[in-house]
Amino acid sequence: MAGEDIHVPSSSSASSHRLPTVSASQALQTLHVQGSRAVSTGLAPLDKALAPHGLPGRSVSGGYMRGKVTEIFGPPGVGKTAFGIQAAANALRDGHRAVWVDAACAPLAAQRVHDVLLAVTVAPEAPETPETPETIEVPRPLDERHNHFHHYTAPTLAHLLALFVHRPSAFPPPNTGLIVIDSLSTLFDNAYPRNADNRGARNKSEQARWAAGRKFAVMNELIVTLTRVAALHDIALLVTCQTITRMRGGSRALLVPAISGAEWENGISTRVVLFRDWAAQKARFAGILKTNGVTLADEGGVGEVVPFSIDSVRLGAMNIAAVDITTPTISTEARPLKRQFAEMDDEEGHEGLNGPDSDELYGWIEDDEVAAEGLVVVETSMAPDVDTAESRATPAAESQSQSQSHSQMNDSVDPRRVTRPKTF
């Protein structure tokens, strides 16, 4: 947390290391212009699922929330970068600037971004997102959007830390709506190899023990800084991560995000997993594991599922853009099943296995903390949470002519969700 106010070479202005104070009436005001609070994912169902719970009877646009950190993880080739590019294109379309930080993995293909930008111009989408006054007019010229796309390459973790912990004066650029850090986990893997040798309980010097603990200290420092940058500058911060395996029960190797730890997960307000399944040849799925600080699924579960596909435009170009949605009904079909699986896993009493990872530790904490600072405008009140937990479950149950047992399970899930805020 420190370090920054002491001696930043190009020191940020005196006020910028404080979070802005928001009075209650201001907060209410902001609530009314919620439209600009999110960067669209390009998938309407996903936007809706990620939307914060606003005032009753008021629809709020969703997506990657500004002021929050969102993590997307998934196996290689599943479309993590495509999500980032789509988000960047949407931010640019809305007239914001977008910052892209390439971590070491695969450099961003400029052509691909270009094609996505073109596609967004050609088909200005999402009429349902309430637009802010300045974005109602025609899509911005391509050149302008090109100039609003900032690209940095961070070959090592030190570069990334220097960029965020000791922010240069020009960073983030004014009016930035989105920062994407692509493949952040690669930097950590390179800087701190996962080595079994480290774990050996042999006698180490004090220094060695200190150095071994630095990985998590640096990780915590980074996530704290990222959340701060996001909150201070009202930026949607999107981080993509690779996966590692973790053995769970016998020979079951599970894909889990490469970066984990209680602090890290606390700092991440929304977490989405991308994966693939048999269901349809070209379909991929985005599972929402955590949204706006509320954990929806445990390790191994996929939470609420939204299918998508990554379209390739002809012309031999690599427009991996225009993330189309397959029929939206599918998402409601798929949802209850996964919810049950995740919940059942939990209810069977495996919490011991999950250990400190289970969602008791995080989830509510973050909301509270942020609320205490008077920063968060909307989604902190518990009542809407309860509201939507129910509303999320009910349409699914209704829409489905499924067996009784299913809806019962859904019911049995709900009380748990509802009571949790009280117990906290």
């Binding site: 002491i6 900032h150 030190a158 893997d189 040798d197």
Partner: protein, 427 residues
């Protein structure tokens, strides 16, 4: 502090030589310098705080300049303006295969070509060695380096390709690629491989104007080294060590590719896959891995069939399930289990590469319908029989610059004149 040279190779350490040994001794890395308070660092390493502060300022400044923050906005926003002049890559010298790859192998990336022995990995690599010397758009007009861990470079085959490949033989003599611009070296073991890649390769790249580095194959030395030690004395520990080394190797190769603007192409072997990854949702039967404690809750509840028939698999995030899509084998449900392969070196390595291209081969049996077409999908008719020939497919599993292939990918054949696609009419 020893990592400073790696993080900032051009950082002038001379004014700070009195600090570095103490920092080294206290095991303080550049990351720590950037994140910690200078006076904490100073206390830990028992150094004067003012000096440490000066060093940190210098390092942060240098990192910022390296990121392109120093020189105003142009550096960071010029990225997209350069779109048009960056397109181009190393061609496979075949139109269809190039189309599948959106133009060929892009410089700046670490690409893996994986496939069974005899699938055509080396044939494809040899073609690339020649093509990289061609002027754009087919190549980079640069030399190539071939690092081999198995067989030495097949020069007779190269010469044959040069004289018979339609795209090469038609060129006038002075424009034709030459074998003298292909540098070759053999790395018999892991240690020499490490040394060559880390120290000799960067020098050779600068000296010979290299645009393509081929490593054939990446797994061979790892297999030998780590399987020798055997399972009994700490297989897990040796796996972990291998994982750490693979991460390093991946970082090294990616860094080379990015910094020097060259294509790094590695060949990788495959192993058979054992477990059936998961069931198609239509057959709700037991899974191989569901016998454990975790599985109880799942097997009690068979995957329910929704009206649309879209149901997720019971354990969607299991590695066995997801690897169907990122290994290149398994995403066609009709494929028989025993034909599935898994590229060597596992998920750790899959995370390192930017692009994976799978070369898939399937036997063609004599005297019976070989590929049955059902529902517009090729289905393999797998009965024991005499193998008369092989069919081969090139499949882009994932790539940053090209969409992944649909179905099996592009069918190709290996001829005397090189690799060429098979036109679709026979289906």
């Amino acid at each position: 502090m020893s990592d400073l040279l790696y993080v900032l190779p051009h950082f002038d350490t001379r004014p700070y030589t009195h600090l570095l040994p103490s920092l080294d001794k206290a095991l303080i890395t550049t990351n720590d310098l950037v994140t910690l308070e200078p006076h904490d660092v100073a206390k830990r390493a028992q150094l004067p705080a003012a000096d440490v502060r000066r060093l940190v300022d210098q390092i942060v400044g240098a990192l910022h300049r390296h990121l392109g923050c120093g020189g105003g906005e142009q550096a960071s926003t010029a990225f997209l303006s350069a779109v048009r002049d960056t397109v181009g890559g190393i061609s496979t010298l075949d139109t269809q295969l190039d189309a599948a790859l959106s133009g060929g192998f892009r410089p700046g990336y670490l690409v893996e070509i994986t496939g069974e022995s005899g699938a055509g990995k080396t044939q494809l690599l040899l073609t690339l060695l020649l093509a990289s010397q061609l002027p754009p758009p087919q190549g980079l007009a640069k030399s190539a380096i071939y690092i081999s861990t198995e067989a030495p470079l097949a020069t007779p085959r190269l010469a044959q390709l040069l004289s018979t490949h339609p795209a090469l033989a038609s060129l006038p003599l002075h424009e034709r690629p030459s074998l003298s611009r292909i540098l070759s070296i053999q790395t018999p073991d892991l240690e020499s491989q490490e040394h060559i890649l880390r120290y000799q390769l960067p020098v050779a790249i600068k000296k010979h104007n290299v645009g393509l580095v081929v490593l054939d194959s990446v797994a061979a030395n790892y297999r030998a080294e780590f399987e020798k030690q055997g399972a009994r004395n700490g297989a897990a520990a040796s796996m972990a060590r291998r994982g750490a080394q693979l991460v390093q190797l991946g970082a090294l190769l990616r860094d080379l590719a990015h910094r020097e603007g060259l294509a790094v192409v590695v060949a990788n072997q495959v192993a058979d896959r054992f477990a059936r990854p998961s069931n198609p949702p239509s057959h709700a039967v037991s899974r191989t891995t569901s016998g454990n404690s975790q599985g109880n809750s799942q097997s009690a509840k068979p995957p329910t069939e929704a009206e649309d028939g879209l149901v997720l698999s019971p354990d969607p995030l299991a590695l066995d399930h997801q690897q169907c899509w990122f290994t290149g084998w398994g995403d066609i449900q009709s494929d028989p289990l025993h034909s599935l392969k898994t590229p060597s070196l596992g998920l750790v390595w899959s995370n390192q590469i930017s692009c994976r291209i799978a070369l898939i081969k399937k036997p063609v049996f004599a005297g019976r319908p070989l590929v049955v077409t059902a529902n517009g999908e090729d289905q393999w008719n797998d009965d024991e029989n005499h193998i008369s020939k092989w069919r081969r497919w090139l499949k882009v599993v994932f790539a940053p610059w090209a969409p992944s292939s649909e179905g099996r990918g592009v069918e190709y054949e290996v001829l005397k004149t090189g690799i060429s696609h098979v036109s679709r009419k026979e289906k």
